[in-house]
Structures are given as C-alpha cells and as structure tokens.
Amino acid sequence: MSNGAGHRQKHSTSRELSRRRLLELGLASAAASPLLLRAGRASAQSGTGGAQPTVTKTPTGELKNPAELKAPKTKASAPTTISFWQYVGFHVDAQKFIAEEYKKRHDPNLTLEITAYPGLNEQRVGVKSAFAAQSATPDIVAVEPGAYAVDVYTSGSVLDFTKVFAEDPEYKRGFWPNALELLTINGAIVSVPAVTNTVIVYYNRGIFQQHGLEVPNTLDELKKIGAALSAKGIMPIAYPAGQDRNFPIFPYYTYVGGIKADKLMREADLGLKPWTSPELVAGAEFVEMMAKSGLYAKGPLGIKEPDAIQIFATGKSAMFWGGQWMRRSIRAALPPNFDLAIFPFPAVVPGGHKSVLSSVGITLTVNARSKYPDLAFEMIKALTGPWGKIEYTRNLGLSPNGPISADAIAYQMQSLKDPLYPEFLKLQPTGTTRVIFTPAVEEAMTQGMQAIITGQKTPKAVMESVEAASQKVGARKFRTG
C-alpha cells in the first residue's frame, strides 16, 4: 500500500463517513462492479483471491441480501437431520443462520446438526475414526486445504463436486478459480471453500503517526521503521510463530510469493522439483534474515496468538503479523481509541510485488458413505452459494469465497461495522497460497523454519532436510490443480 493509499484509508475507513460520501461510494462501486468483477476473475489466476468492488457502507435505508437463495433440486421427503463436523467454533452462528433460512424457505424437513470441534486436530481425529469405521456420519465434513483434503479424497472417504458443478455451472463460477484449483486433486474438485483468508500486517496507526512513520513499501523501509521503533522502546512486529505448525512458515511463503515462485514451490511440494533450488533456498535465507533483523518481538516461537494480540493491543508493539481470521479477537482486545489499520507485507525484493498470503479457510465436502449425499450437497450449496456467501461473510467479516457485488458489500456493511472489511477485500487479488500438500514436507518445513528462527541450522541445511523428507515420500499418489 502506498503512502497515499494509507492516507486514503485513514479517511475512507476508520472514521465515520458522511451520508453524502457514502452515497458517492455506493454509486461509484455499483458502477464499477461489473468491470471489477471481470478484472477479479482475470487476476484470480495469479492468486487465491480476486478483486472485489469497493464499497463501504449502505447509503440509505435498510438493504437486503441482493442474491437469491435458490431452491434445491433435491428435498428431504421426510424429517431428516444431516450432520456436519467442523473445527471453527466462531463459524457456527453463520452456518446455523443459513441452514435455518434454507429450512424455512425451501426444505422444512431438513435440519443441519453442526458439531464444532475445539480445533482442527480434534476434528481430524474424529473424522479419521469415523471414516475408518465406515460411518455414514458426518454427512458434511469440513477439511483444510492441502494434506487433509488429499488424505480424505485419495482414501475414497469423500465425494467430489464433478456432478454438482456439471449440473450447476453457475455455482462453480461463484468461486475464485484459484481457490478451486487449490482444492483440485487428481483432476476433481474435492471440496469448496466457505470463505477466503489473508495474512497481512495489522498496525497501530497512532504509534506510526506519533513517530512520523509511513507505511513501508519495501523491506528496507520496514527495517528502518523497525529500527526507529526499537530505539523508542517499542517492539516492531508481534509475530506469533509459536501458535501452530503453519505460522513458522509464513515468512517463507511471503518470500516465495514475493518473488512469484509459488508454482516452483508447488512443484517441489509434489516432488517434481528440488527444494534446494536457489529460489527456494533464498526463501529460507529470508526467514533467517527476518529472524535476525530485530523486527520481531523477542522469542517469536514462544509467542502464541493471544500473547501477540495482547502485546499489540497494549501498544508494546506497533505491528502484528497475523491472519484476517484474528480480526475479531484483535478488535475485542483493543482499547476504544486504538487506530487499527492494515497493510500487505512490503515487497521482499527491490521492485517486487507485495505478497499477501491467502488461502481458503474452512472447506466443505460430503462423506462418501453419507445416507443423504444429495441433501448434503444442497446444504453445502446453500452455505457457499451466492446468497449464503454474502450472509456467511457478513457474519464473520472474512473475505467471501468468490466475487460479490457492490450491493452485496453495501448490505454487509450495514451490520458489519468493521471498516477493515473492505480493506481486506481489496487485498484479495494478490493472494499467495500458503498450503503444502505433502504432510512429511510440511512437517520438515515447520521444523526447519523453527531451526532457522532459533539459529540451530543454516537455511541451506534446512532446505536439504526438506528435500530429503520430500524424497523419502517418493512419487506422490496425487496431483493437484
């Protein structure tokens, strides 16, 4: 984001907008939306996300969801309950709301029973046990893109969407192409995303302004900001690398995305290219440079998300490197006068582009042994289709799984008071996927990045160990995209 853009953001998002300005924005967005949608589809080829029209709030009156909750092709002939096992507790309300509306409007016999496991690990263990026992429950399964999706599909445990998309091509067009590409295994789309997510840098605009700092565009600028903040006794970036096994890899993904080596990384993941190629080793060197740069709050591997949020919310750090999914937790922790803003991580190489880590969040698929596969697919269509995606993301403030109209955004902003939401939507087109499909490679990457951050191994040694893990897996039994 340029300095100018940062300035624009200040005026357009974080402060109350005048009625006139809202009207202008709404009209401009509505006029621009068809063009932007086309642009979004095109740009989505290079990232998980895509462009969304720009709009902030409703100009006048009470708006309604502009999309239609379409009638299903199949309905339950008698009272039927389908089960859904997922792992993100804060999604439940949104899912319940959509399922209830679907029941009310189209299928009074159908009830969705949602089991929200406390986390991915617990849900994955439960799902694995159910599949091994050839259970018909759950009917709908939430899976993470990457290894989880590969495991459930290649074991024959879930159905793919080939038939569903063939019958309803419009439904397929509602998703960002790259999001679906990420979920395409052995030529079939095995699950569909409920939302998309980005990883960005949250920053405390108050601290930036107080110390005369501008949003950085390049790595050098970021380093200068870090030095200036450290000199004032403020930690530059709270980075919760201890949160899970994915966080330590974020800097690596950022670099790879920044030099547009995503495809190379994917090929290495699939065992088709070596992890020791110069570009991929350079990613590990970037991780090392960042760890030694003094930009992170001390001991990132000992910091979890709640700790990092606390550090950031109390003004002890000026920036927070985290995901869009943490927006609510961050907001909840902030004092009322906190001026929260976001920017994409600066370009990692001179003249390079700003890489925004992006991924589909929770994705939905159907148990191959479900007694009601058609009803399950219809429910997934309700949750992720044109009407559902608007309600889903209105509830959560996460980015939609595909393009939505300016009217839809205006409708969402009626209840979604967060001015950062449109900012996140703007960042979608530059998304770099942060998914590794091969479990052993992901494990080697996690451990390797930890070893680099703690100074135990050199970047080259780490990438050699990742390559060794990749070779040990041998030829993959799957292909992606």
Partner: protein, 301 residues
Amino acid sequence: MSAAARRRWRRNLTGYAFAGPALIVLAAFLLYPVAYSVSLSFHEWDGYTPRWGPFVGFENYRALAADEVFWRATWNSIVFVVVRTPLEVGFGFLLALLLNHRLALRSLLRTFFFVPVVMSLIVVTIIFQRVFEPNTGLLNTFLRVIGLGDWAHPWLGDPATALPAVIAVSVWKNVGFSLVILLAGLQGLPQDVIEAARVDGANAWQLTLRVITPLMRPILALTALLSIIGGLKVFDLVFIMTRGGPTYSTEVLATMLYREAFELNHMGIASAVAVILVALVLSIARVQTYVLDESPEGGKA
C-alpha cells in the same frame, strides 16, 4: 462328579459370575485395544481406509530405529521422567513432612498445594504460556523488576529451555498429588516406633532420615511409580504448550505417537511407538513392584 467337586465348581462359578462383568470390560477396553495395537504395529495403514494395508513385519520398528526424531522423543521422555519424578516426589515428601506437624493453617496449606492437581490442565497450560511469554510474561517481567533482566528469556521458544519449562509446570501441577499420598502415608505410620526412637534420643533429622523415611519406602516407591508412569505418558501438557517444539526439543513419545498417527498418517509406526511406550511402562512397573516386594511390607524381607 463327586459332591465335593460339584460344590467347588459351584463356588468357582459364583466367583466367575462376580468377576465376569469386570473381565469383559477389561477385555473389551484394555486387552483387545492392546492386541489390536500390537497387530497394527506390523502393518501399514493410513487410518482412513477401512482395511489395514499390507503386513510389513518389523519394518515399522526398523523405521523407528532409524528415525532420529524417535530417539529424540525417547530421550526427552526419559529426561522428563528422570527430572520430574525426584522433584515431584521430593517436594511432595518435604511438604508432607512439614504438613504432618500441627501447624496453624495446616488444612489451608494442604488445600493450597492440592489446588493445581484439580485445576484443568488446559487452564494451567494457558496460564503458564502467559507466564513464560518472552516479552510481557510474568516470569520475565518479574526478573526485570528485581534487576535480573539479563536472565529474561524466551523460555518456551528456545530449544534449550523449552523442556525444562514444561517439566517445571508438570512438577507444579502434580506435586500436590504426591503430597496427599505421602501425607496419608505419614499419618498411617506406627507411632510406637516413632515414639521409641524419640525416647532413645533421636533428633528430628535422625528421626526423619533413619526412621520415617525407611518406613515410608513403599509409599515413596508407589508415588514414584505413579509419577514415572505419568511422566512417560505425558501428552496433553506438552502438546498444548509446545506441540513438541521448537525443533522437537520437547517431543516425547506420546506426542510423536500423535504426530505419526494423525498428522503423518503412519498408523503402523504410531502403533509401534505405542507398543514401545507400553513396554517401557510395564518394565518400569515391574521393577518398581520388585522393589516394593523387597520392602519390609512386601513379604520378602
């Protein structure tokens, strides 16, 4: 069948009838899973397909023997037990000796030391994650306040200190359990022996070292056994606090088992780890039982 044999058979049948339900439960929920796990350790299986993969003999065990993470996890499990058990039993015994006296607030202190045992492990780990947080954590803040800021450290983020930090939490959480068992043991000691030692002129130190400690040996051994088994099985504490990291520095056998089974889909290897873990626990239990049998109360002396 003679009348005596019939009577014996009827008596035995009654015994089996009473023990039957317990035996069925034991067989269904203990023996069968153990046998299943042992059998699975000789197969390949990803955990998703209904049928196991091919029989691979000792391949899973050979893979473990060649895996440095397995040796790291084994070593960490041993360190965990070797460091935790003496601390837990030692502190527990000291506190039990202290609380065995007629102190003011004795009941309150006993409750105070027992509270961590009944606290939810999740709550404990979340509290200690905050305590050990490198920048704003309680421990480092305290060190800075008392002028020892140089000692401030990313306790859970540094491979050198992550395992000791986790062990410290484990000791804090479990010392109350040892205390309660040992206190009950102390209160059940034959008072005539202790009085006789006092009459013979033994001071407090001699009384503790020469009389009470030998008498407490079976209870100390039992407490140590429970601590060792608990230490070898430790999973939740490590998994929540560090997930075995950073760089496997806190990986123990149970977390490795989980990782192999549910993250890497190597159910056969995970079962092999489980078999090794059970074998370790059983061997230690056997050694400990032998020590107990050698004790004055054990019958062999």
